[in-house]
Symmetry: C2
Subunit: 344 residues, 2 copies
DNA sequence: GAAGATCGTGCAATCGATTGCAAAAGGATC
DNA sequence: GATCCTTTTGCAATCGATTGCACGATCTTC
């Protein structure tokens, strides 16, 4: 038996012709429609397999008026116009990417236009995707609120804010800030600075935890110890240096991120202080580099990869029309070194 | 004059109706076709603007049989199944993302299936995109070769290999490895280890630079000083420790990445060695964290963001049918500390 | 004023799928 | 064998754009 010249099977029509059925039947068979007999399904599946045919997802999505794409937008620090460089982002991204892949969604990556996320309305990010995940709120909470009103499902990784009408997923920042501060207090530290921009809701929540811990030791927060340190390492160092040179010396610092903490450590060390003996530092995020730096950094861990999954479940839930609620993930203090005043 | 109830303008047809022309004319006008009179174009553009209409990119791409998407695939370390965690990736990704956005392409993110990139053939990555950028070759060079034969334009960030039929963009790894090693030699170091997996083409090229520098000082590479250290920080530390404990002590190490270098530094420090006094270390990549770590890391810089742009130009060039050639980007030694034997 | 050239526009097919509705095929019952 | 029910399949419209080809309008030119 001579094998007929194999005509490539490109479309459903080709496959249907081969099977001797109509396009409609072929479509239904491959989608496992109950309208189609088991026999026909078997046959079509077999042929599809044999000729290495898979539906054209693009045509399918077009017809179904969807994209099978979820955008991920990273919020950048307003002032720095810094390109995302915190390893925290990468880990989050990895979690999101894997999770989306599990659900057969594609990931479209973007970073937020620095001054105004509303500009996204005009762009690919919103138009080419079924939903959007924002990582961080930056200082643009109200604009996120507006975007949420547009109809595209969005979910935001961030901290608590008032009058919010988007779905929020975030770590338990208050507990994290509390645990970090409490840890330092228990080591005997009393002049504890806080590094981070509290206009950022996540950081603000951490700061409230910081205040709570201080209160338990009957200390009241000192405004001069609250320092608006940016996420960007270079500028974090500058601010840290300026702080130490001009505004007195704390015996400990709670930092809003590990990168910030590492910046602080190197600055302080360069200025001749010993870390942690003179100044103890606690970070936030537990990035790999922090774990293995020396001195190893005590920090607050959030399960970032899991967070990625939760974010994905949340957008996809919204896309499917489910009711979706906020999620708060636990955070956990990771103690990596003694921060005791006396040498341990 | 009463404004008529605004019927939303969703499709070209709607717009055409509004203008009193046909769909075809509307399409041509918006695409600035020479077939259409200036007057008509003006009118349609005006209406489009006024009614906030933009073409449905999805339908357009579908019709034009393209996707306006470029996939970016990160190669993972075979053994570690490590999720990308090197900040180097993030920077590269940022460069690629911005550059793609400039060209109105979307970025689909994926990581390579660990054992076998050929599996991508079946998946979204190849089917949903007009081209693919691979970051790193891992140990899968030959499979990349196969993929390149499939017709989808691909470009790879990596190092030189023989019998290559894909477009390659990469740093000048040989020079980088040479400069790093030479620097150590000039500081008086003589027992210089090399950390990195030389089955990776980039690292292999760096190693050849290392050999060249040694040769100039009439040293010959000692196999026992060539250590297969993974990119993953945790495991890098284990390997570094094992090396130092069992295989003698070098007075310097050339590392294949900054993360590896930082891992080495912390390991060595923990083991009681002084860096750089006892063991000097040079990294590769110049990630932010390396610049600001203490001791600040001497390293080899590649202009990653620019690399991102070059990669993008390269795929897009191929997509447009241009002839595209390989590119090698300069690398530059960044000296951040004295690595002199004497305390300098 | 008619023939011919030029310019602008519209008709309709096409990309590859999904799906409501109608029609055909197959079975059961009397 | 006719009738009625299921079960299975096919027809044709649809999603929103692009584009080859043909047609109608306008302008020259004799």
């Amino acid at each position: 038996m001579i094998k007929p010249t194999a005509k490539p099977v490109r479309s459903l029509q080709d496959l249907a012709d081969l099977a001797g059925v109509s396009r409609a039947t072929a479509s239904r068979a491959l989608n496992d429609s109950p309208l189609i007999s088991e026999k026909t399904k078997q046959k079509l599946r077999g042929l599809a397999e044999k000729h290495n045919y898979t539906v054209n997802q693009q045509a399918r999505d077009f017809r179904l008026r969807r994209t099978s794409v979820v955008s991920v937008v990273f919020m950048l620090d307003v002032k720095s116009d810094q390109h995302m460089s915190d390893p925290f982002f990468l880990e989050m991204l990895g979690g999101i990417a894997d999770s989306l892949a599990d659900h057969d969604y594609d990931l479209l990556l973007a970073h937020a236009p620095v001054p105004d996320v509303l500009a996204l309305r005009e762009g690919r990010v919103l138009k080419h995707s079924d939903g959007v995940i924002f990582v961080g709120q930056g200082e643009q909470h109200s604009m996120l609120n507006e975007l949420a009103g547009d109809g595209t499902p969005i979910v935001v990784w961030g901290g608590p804010v008032q009058d919010r009408n988007y779905v929020l997923v975030g770590g338990d920042n208050a507990s994290g800030g509390y645990a970090a501060t409490r840890h330092l207090l228990e080591q005997g530290r009393r002049t504890i600075a806080f590094f981070g921009n509290t206009r950022n809701p996540e950081i603000s929540a951490r700061y409230s935890g910081y205040e709570k811990a201080l209160a338990e030791f009957e200390l009241r927060p000192d405004e001069s110890l609250k320092v608006d340190v940016p996420f960007d390492m270079r500028r974090a160092q500058e601010v840290a240096r300026e702080f130490l040179e001009n505004r007195g010396q704390p015996d400990a610092v709670v930092c809003a991120s590990d990168v910030m903490a590492l910046a602080a450590i190197s600055t302080f060390t360069n200025l001749g202080f010993k870390v942690p003996e003179d100044i103890a530092i606690v970070g936030y995020d537990d990035i790999d580099l922090a774990a293995y730096s020396s001195p190893a950094l005590t920090t607050v861990r959030q399960n970032i990869r899991w967070a990625g999954r939760v974010l994905v479940e949340s957008v996809l839930g919204q896309i499917n029309g489910d009711a979706v609620s906020d999620t708060m993930l636990a955070s956990e203090l990771i103690v990596r070194q003694s921060s005791g005043v006396s040498g341990e």
